[in-house]
Amino acid sequence: MGSLLSRNLRQFGMVIALAALLVFFQVRTGVALTPGNISNIIQGNAYVLILAVGMVLIIIAGHIDLSVGSVAAFVGVTVALLTQSGVPWALAVLIGLVVGIGVGAWQGFWVAAVGIPAFIVTLAGMLLFRGLNQVLGKSQTIPVPDGIIYLGTASVPEVGPNTGFNNITVLLGLLGVAALIFFEVRKRRNATRLGAPIGPVWASVLKVVLIGGVILLATYLFATAPIGRSFPIPGLILIVLVIVYAFVMARTPLGRHIYAVGGNRAAAQLTGVNVRRVNFFVLTNMGFLSAIAAIVFVGRSTSSGAYDGQGWELDAIAAVFIGGAAVSGGIGTVIASVIGGLVIAVLNNGLQLLGVQNDITQVIKGLVLLLAVALDVYNKKQGKPSIIGLVQRGMRRSAGTGETGVVDTTQPAQPAAEAPVDTSSSRQ
């Protein structure tokens, strides 16, 4: 009983760390958990979290992308200049996304077709697109129109009858809880049908109550926030991206190919995975997500500037590694990376609320990154299951049945949390 409890708790290690940070800062400052502040955290870091979604794919495939900040800056200035020259903002955003995909494809070409390491291609890209950003923008700040500012700063609109709540936020929250219960029930039913071992009922109930409680609390906070301060649009964009990419990684051949290429490239090739196509895809996709991050950021900043994107690549990479991805590739999940990014974001925000100086904040963030990864490595060496491995496995299915590498299409789509091919077992 006790061991079961501890295992179930450890499954959510990173989530618990996040919650603990939030509670700690709430106690210390009294304002950390207000909707306004949570909304600040989401809006102020959405661009990093969006980049982390793409970066984890790159890192799982065994690459790294140093150019994301510069690419975002380049896309940002392109969109800003387009709108300035009279192009409607929605069209400019669309062109920006196409430019991002084009830039990603350009880098993907050098990696996949020519065979230059992504580190070098994207290092070149970092310089190249930073330079282009400054050439195009003449190193100056260029304002963007309200439509784009909306994407970066607004919260979900007030629609429908006046219920005293933000209706869309309530709807989203209830949908989230319903999905949680639905998938948990389906998981148990499937496991029973297949005769697979399942955890005790109370564990599932606890899980649903805990996560559902958090969702409902967040929903309540956002839904009752003053008009214009409910759930932010960048957060909505992020959720859509997380669901889509978690699904792709967990449930599609493409996702499994990405894991396979990163886990063991030669083996992947021998089993018929088109490695070049995978490499091309992850880099092109990163360009696309950099473009989304760029648009959200110029929206929030109400303009594109010469410094946009500086250091973003490192923020995104840190998020992915705190989220438990392996430097050598093959391991990592979209959800865990976003949670890793949120840990940094909450830490940043909390320290700012406490009034800790920026220099000290950087020291703390550096130590957290090191400790998070060190703890994981230490646990692996001790023969204990890695915390991050547990988080991933726990999110995948019940921890006990962590069968690996089996493509089981009858499993419920619990997209937000799955890592299908556990290549870690072959690597330890």
């Binding site: 400052t29 304002v31 207000t34 306004g36 502040n37 600040n40 809006q43 102020g44 870091n45 661009y47 003449k138 190193s139 100056q140 700040t141 304002p143 309200d146 500012i149 909306y150 994407l151 970066g152 700063t153 607004a154 979900v156 609109p157 007030e158 629609v159 008009i227 214009g228 909505l236 859509v240 991206l241 669901i243 889509v244 699904f247 792709v248 449930r251 599609t252 051949p253 493409l254 190919h257 196509r277 950021f297 929030r300 900043s301 109400t302 303009s303 500037g305 010469a306 410094y307 500086q310 250091g311 940043n348 925000n349 700012q352 609320l353 009034g355 100086q357 920026n358 220099d359 950087q362």
Partner: protein, 374 residues
């Protein structure tokens, strides 16, 4: 196999597109209600408690005057009983945005903001305005937003003018030969609103002399875009100077340099010394202690003194007036692109070897350096 993958990818992409479309579709409905009232004026008249929390958000700590501000703001605000917090955004614009959000969350009753980028804080400031928090733009003007209330700055036109004039004086005094003089021009960061004003005002003095042939810019680089130094980074300016010296001054002598501030001036001095040349008259700004030493030694010709203490004082006085519900005293107006901003202009002074000790006598850090020889 790949076909299935592709089909799924298409489905998923389509789903993403629909999701995005849904997420953004509220636009037109929201546009109307977004504006809200701008209560900053009315609330400024109400005032706030004398022990309120005041937030100070400053840019990167790149020169001595920012270091000074870090200690002066808490000191002056403490004296009046305000709780306060000074934060530097060394990590860039997004960090400053988050810091301002955090200051607002902490219930700041007034914000003093020295922006990294003049125009990238509008959404944070509109949040401040919607909560009736007055915003004082410190040192650099915040542009293109209505949600800023006051500006405290040293007259930037005056700074540029003094730099231009002192370069001309320096040339006559030190070049040791009649005109034409070879000069090179450097300016500050293109995203800093003041940098352009400094440069343009200096050029008002210099351009006529370039036109009549008194001054020659051998590199031909005279437009603001060409001479600007991204991020005020001295190493960037130093590299540009290295290149100019190699390309244009292997035979010619360099007679003078317009430098926008002291840190850049020191980078340029290093570059010129590395090239084995005499350091010609060089301008500066900010009264960096290192540069005061160089002026005392006769290496750097001049700097423009903008005592941080005066600027901090003026900002804190504004906060005090606001807290009492009074309208802060200002002596001018600046156009920030969206509104006329009531401005407290302070006047800068030119410092050369001649008045060095006199200007800094009272300053605990700079005084001993400036007056060491006299």
């Amino acid at each position: 196999m790949m076909n299935i993958a592709r089909r799924k990818l298409v489905t998923v992409t389509a789903a993403a597109a629909i999701g995005l479309a849904l997420a953004t579709s509220g636009c037109s409905q929201r546009a109307g209600s977004e504006g809200g009232a701008s209560p900053s004026d009315s609330s400024a008249e109400k005032g706030f408690a004398a022990d309120s929390f005041i937030g100070v958000s400053l840019p990167q700590k790149t020169s001595q005057n920012w270091e000074d501000a870090q200690s002066l703001f808490p000191q002056k605000l403490d004296e009046l009983g305000f709780k306060n917090q000074v934060q530097f955004a060394n990590g860039g614009v997004s960090e400053q945005q988050n810091q301002i959000n955090a200051l607002i969350t902490r219930d700041a009753k007034a914000l003093i903001v020295g922006p990294i980028d003049s125009a990238q804080l509008a959404s944070q400031l509109s949040q401040a305005a919607s909560q009736g928090i007055p915003v004082i733009s410190y040192d650099r003007m915040i542009t293109d937003t209505k949600d800023v209330d006051y500006l405290v700055t040293f007259q930037p036109q005056e700074v540029g003018k003094l730099q231009g004039q002192s370069l001309l004086e320096g040339l006559e005094a030190k070049a040791g030969h009649p005109a034409p003089y070879n000069v090179e021009l450097f300016a500050g960061s293109p995203d800093d609103n003041n940098a352009k004003i400094f440069y343009e005002s200096a050029m008002e003095e210099l351009q006529p002399k370039i036109d009549d042939g008194t001054l020659v810019v051998q590199s031909g680089q005279t437009s603001f875009q060409q001479v600007a130094t991204q991020g005020w980074k001295p190493e960037t300016a130093q590299k540009r100077m290295d290149a100019i010296l190699t390309a244009n001054y292997s035979g010619a002598t360099l007679d003078g340099v317009l430098s926008p501030n002291d840190t850049i001036a020191r980078g340029l001095i290093t570059s010129i010394r590395n090239a084995g040349k005499e350091v010609p008259p060089m301008t500066g700004q900010d009264s960096d202690p290192e540069s005061i030493k160089l002026i005392a030694e006769g290496v750097q010709y001049s700097t423009v003194n903008k005592p941080t203490v005066e600027q901090v004082d003026a900002s804190v006085k504004m906060v005090e007036a606001l807290s009492k519900g009074e309208t802060p005293k200002t002596n001018g107006e600046s156009d920030n692109g969206s509104k006329k901003l009531p401005t407290q202009f302070l006047s800068p002074t030119l410092v050369t070897q001649e008045n060095l000790c006199e200007v800094y006598e009272e300053d605990p850090v700079r005084g001993p350096i400036a007056c060491a020889n006299s």
